[in-house]
């Protein structure tokens, strides 16, 4: 492996028919980091992940993953990457143990039985190893899928919307596990729609229409966006929303319980819009610092679903 960079690709491009799903994409992922892909459906997140791990051949571009050429050494890459697909992709008609054994054999692992036993133990499923995978609940399926793609102790973990349809408790447990792997030097690339997953990431790339529009450490995202925000509470919030929603300068408006946050890139216009409603009965206005939450909402509101061929869930 070269230095501290796990993924280093430049100009990755992929088209399906006449639709360019990923368009000259550069990516540089340092070892041990948790790197998040944020973007609407169809923006090219899944296609990019598939190109990085050798499941799709890029039309253009070059680079390395774990030091192997993404164009020519996909078998070597696959041997050292754990890829968890969006949809549950283990065999529902095999038991938990049989699924783990299948993947252990595919990767040609030594001490197969021992590793499978360890994986079952770490899942806490010792008594249920003979149960069919298809009969597990969503949260358990997801934990089993993670265990299966970690069975060969990969150095890089690719997670494609790993916690879609999983309850919040299971999602927190899942992220504790990912954090634990990261502390052991495992690099993670994760695509997500969720704010609570974004905060877990060290660095975020924002993708729309196959292009990377933003790439920064998670904490710096609000600054990079240059967002300004005002918080309004008290008063008739429905009426305030109605008046502010389409006001010039207001890029996004979000309700947080008993308050409204309005954000925009142009501070003057935004302040002017807010000034117009200061006179409403009972309303309280305060300028606040735009945080990650505002940035997330801003980004997700920015573009609608980019109906892409390769990303269709």
């Amino acid at each position: 492996m070269t230095g501290e960079t796990v993924i280093d690709v430049r100009g990755l491009t992929k088209s399906f028919g006449d639709k360019t799903v990923v368009d000259h994409f550069d990516l540089n992922v340092p070892r041990g980091s948790i790197y998040g892909f944020l973007g609407p459906n169809g923006s090219g997140k899944t296609t990019t992940i598939r190109m990085v791990c050798g499941l799709l051949k890029p039309d253009e571009g070059e680079g390395t993953c774990l030091g192997y050429d993404v164009l020519h050494e996909s078998t070597e890459i696959k041997a050292h990457v754990g890829y968890m697909t969006q949809r549950f992709s283990l065999y529902e008609d095999l038991s938990i143990r049989e699924n783990l054994e299948f993947f252990a054999r595919l990767y040609g692992l030594d001490r197969m039985r021992q590793r499978v036993d360890e994986a079952i133990a770490s899942l806490g499923l010792e008594g249920r190893a003979g149960q069919l995978a298809g009969s597990l609940s969503g949260g358990w399926k997801q934990r089993l899928a993670l265990a299966a793609c970690m069975i060969h102790e990969p150095q890089l973990l690719l997670l494609d919307e790993p916690t879609a349809g999983v309850d919040p408790k299971a999602r927190r447990d899942f992220w504790d596990t990912i954090r634990h792997y990261a502390s052991q030097g495992v690099t993670t690339l994760v695509s997500t729609h969720y704010m609570d997953e974004v905060v877990q990431c060290d660095r975020i790339a924002y993708i729309a229409y196959g292009k990377k529009l933003l790439d920064a450490p998670t904490a710096e995202i609000p600054d990079q966006l240059g967002l300004h925000a005002f918080k309004l509470d008290n008063g008739d919030l429905d009426k305030l929303s109605e008046k502010l929603k389409h006001a010039p300068g207001v890029d996004i408006l979000a309700r947080f319980g008993a308050s409204i946050h309005v954000c925009g890139k142009d501070r003057e216009k935004l302040a002017a819009a807010v000034d117009k409603v200061r006179g409403e009965p009972g309303v309280r206005v305060a300028e606040i610092e735009a945080g990650l939450e505002e940035a997330f909402i801003y980004l997700m509101a920015e573009s609608d679903d980019n109906f892409g061929v390769g990303d269709a869930a």
Partner: protein, 375 residues
């Protein structure tokens, strides 16, 4: 109350879905076209122009007249003229000809002396349907050939019994039992259907269930998937073969004359070929449903054009050309040769070679089609 709008809703939806599923639509249109072509043009239940060898041990005006009559009858096509028993029997045994017609020594002189020489017709009755036409017609063919010649005979030989004797000898299946032909044929048909069907969903099932991506994201190579996915079914094919062979022996009393080792080799290659054909289908089909339809589509010619149901030799040239690329055609010939005629490896090489070639081509195309990526 029945609502026409609801019926219309379902009707329109079905119509749209049918139009979207192009392969299914194509197959539904192609099946009747294919059936019409096969039954209308290719299949001939009154076999003509079957290849025959004539073993000439005597020659003269009578013999020439008989050969001309044979040719005229269109039942047989004289492909070989030989002069010894060994040559004639070899042609019949190898299946190059369906009939061997022997004109004995001194035929001409014995004929005019009233010694009633024998014309021997040896028919390969391992396919009774193919043999029956000629066997039924040969007496009439001989009568027509020799009728003008009767004038030249002494008066005492005219009228009464004809001055020659046609002896028919059904070989390899003397009683003309159709089961002798059908049961070995069934082995081919059953293996074609089940083996092809089972591997035709090999990849499509993974695709439909969503396990495809996880499988491909591992370092497993396309060749490894192909071998791993097809070989388990060799066992299934072997069990089927054993059942059919036991039934053939103990229920239908069909003899097993040939080389068991040659049989084992043939059956293994044939099972593998069908597994590979199914696997190739699974690299093309998008869904399990489509895979089933494609299997059915290749299954039809395997029954109709392979010589299983209708004599292969009686088909027109174009239909035989298609038949030659069908694995079952070669398998049927070899199995009949081995089981009924006692053939060994050397006798069946002419069909084993093409079958191995078909196997390699199918496997090659499957590997070219499935490269182990999601593209």
């Amino acid at each position: 109350m029945i609502s026409f709008s609801r019926i219309a809703a379902v009707f329109i939806k079905e119509l749209v879905q049918m139009r979207r599923d192009r392969p299914t639509f194509a197959i539904m249109i192609m099946v009747p076209v294919m059936q019409l072509a096969l039954f209308g043009f290719a299949i001939n239940t009154d076999p003509r122009h079957l290849p025959a060898a004539v073993e000439l041990r005597d020659e003269g005006p009578l013999t020439r007249s008989f050969l001309a009559s044979l040719r005229q009858s269109t039942y047989v096509e004289i492909t070989d003229i030989v002069h010894t028993d060994a040559q004639g029997e070899e042609l019949l045994r190898s299946g190059k000809v369906n009939f061997l017609i022997v004109i004995p020594e001194n035929f001409e002189s014995d004929f005019v002396r009233g010694e009633r020489p024998e014309i021997l017709v040896a028919a390969d009755a391992s396919d009774p349907v193919a043999a029956s036409g000629v066997v039924g017609a040969i007496g009439e063919i001989a009568r027509r050939a020799f009728e003008p010649e009767l004038e030249r005979l002494p008066v005492r030989l005219r009228g009464g019994a004809p001055p020659y004797n046609v002896v028919i000898h059904r070989q390899y299946n003397p009683e003309g039992v159709t089961a002798f032909n059908i049961v070995p044929g069934l082995l081919g048909v059953i293996l074609t259907m089940t083996m092809t069907m089972i591997t035709s969903i090999a990849l499509t099932r993974e695709r439909e269930r969503g396990t495809y991506e996880a499988l491909l994201s591992s370092p497993v190579r396309p060749l490894e998937i192909m071998v791993g996915k097809t070989t388990p079914y060799i066992i299934v094919g072997a069990i089927q073969t054993a059942i059919i062979l036991l039934a053939a022996r103990f229920v239908f009393h069909i003899p097993f004359m040939g080389d068991a080792l040659a049989f084992l080799l043939v059956i293994s290659v044939f099972i593998l070929t069908n597994l590979m054909l199914g696997y190739l289908i699974s690299t093309v089909a998008k869904t399990q449903m489509q895979a089933m339809q494609m299997t059915f589509f290749v299954f039809l010619p395997s029954i109709l054009l392979s010589g299983f149901m209708f004599p292969f030799r009686a088909m027109p040239v174009w239909a035989r050309a298609i038949g030659e690329v069908i694995p079952n055609t070669h398998f049927l010939r070899m199995v009949r040769e081995i089981m009924l005629k006692g053939a060994g490896l050397a006798d069946i090489a002419g069909d084993l070679g093409p079958l191995v070639l078909i196997l390699l081509v199918l496997a090659g195309i499957a590997l070219l089609r499935f490269r182990g990526t999601l593209d």
